[in-house]
Symmetry: C2
Subunit: 225 residues, 2 copies
């Protein structure tokens, strides 16, 4: 056993795809746990910074210019140790806006957060931690910008929030909350109605694409019983 632990950097990359909150998983091509699903990532290189390291490893899987947000989640040493490998792992949360479809290599695929395959190590609990962090931040920050495309209608945004939060969200109230907090600005454009008609929806965009705490007050709770 070496004097210092190998340091692994991982990312839970989340995106709303096909109506589900999905995460990018890599099918391990090497021991240990060959064939099991794991979070993308790899070893910290000599002299490298944690954030640059995870960006480097992710670059092998997706176009990281499409990453709309990246933040550190947690650092763990526990479970790897049980496997006889003394090792430290730092997990990041990454987000990709809905609507993009980055090219990914064949050993990598998207999986619904609610229907994960058998995961290597304790990566499943890291995905849960990432999901909880996203849910919490949707309530008191402007992090919605990182899930949404550049412009969108309130209905589309409502769907993104509902999928990420895991419960129904009212378009009416979502609009009120985000406008009151001055996070959303109208583009002035409208979306053409579909073949079935309906009033054309106004297009909005997030005023800022930098994370900020917008309200200590929680909103968007699950509908009352």
């Amino acid at each position: 056993m070496p004097d210092n632990p190998p340091h692994v950097v991982l990312a839970v990359v989340l995106q709303v795809r096909d109506g589900l909150l999905q995460t990018l998983l890599w099918r391990r091509g090497r021991d240990p746990q060959l064939g099991a699903h794991a979070l993308p990532g790899g070893y910290l290189d000599r002299g490298e910074t944690l954030e640059l390291s995870i960006r480097r490893h992710l670059a092998a899987k997706v176009d990281i210019r499409e990453l709309s947000h990246l933040e550190q989640l947690i650092t763990r040493s526990e479970s790897e140790q049980k496997l006889g490998e003394w090792q430290v792992a730092t997990a990041y949360l990454g987000l990709i806006p809905s609507g993009l479809d980055p090219a990914i290599p064949s050993d990598t695929s998207w999986h619904s957060v609610d229907d994960l395959p058998k995961m290597a190590f304790d990566h499943e609990s890291m995905i849960q931690a990432a999901h909880q962090r996203l849910q919490a931040k949707l309530s008191y920050t402007n992090i919605g910008f990182a899930l949404a495309p550049e412009t969108f209608t309130i209905s589309e945004l409502r769907d993104l929030y509902a999928i990420a939060l895991g419960h129904e969200v009212s378009a009416t109230n979502l609009q009120r909350v985000l406008l009151r907090r001055e996070l959303l600005e109208p583009t002035g454009e409208r979306r053409e109605p579909g073949p079935t008609g309906g009033r054309p929806a106004a297009l909005f965009r997030f005023g800022s694409h930098r994370l900020s705490i917008t309200d200590q007050f929680a909103a968007l709770r699950p509908p009352g019983k």
Copy 2:
């Protein structure tokens, strides 16, 4: 340079002492930065877990049975690297209830968070991060249990909150918020008034000493202008 980075584990230990929020600093007895003030901690041992490691290092400074709370804060690789030492550091936030006065070694001392000496590395920003985390959690969790002694009056608790938050807190409203959230329970006992008189204060205690999120809603904001 070795194949793997040395992993350092640090703790920002906070306690309300003498009317100030203070942190435990260690005066470095070795290079680099000999003589500068630094957070207590040390290297991760072979096969050791992060949390056990910080507990082990802290045990050399204080009686860790007096630690009322310990949580992971952040892991950094950046700044140490600038000094030519490729190194990763994980910082923890630790809390000690007010009123205790743990024995500490002579190379260690308490310093007000608002009046820090010249700090080694980027430890000052870690203390700021710890302080901000504590302030935020005072609003939406029951973390007050970790700052307060076993039993206390509302006035005493008000002072602790005011010191940790850095702004005035109303005893009236603090009591209402914490009772509404059912965090406080009366012990049934009373504190004798001082020589100057006054109605005897009821003693309370926190119902739970495990961290839980009690409200997504922020309270205890600074008094309005």
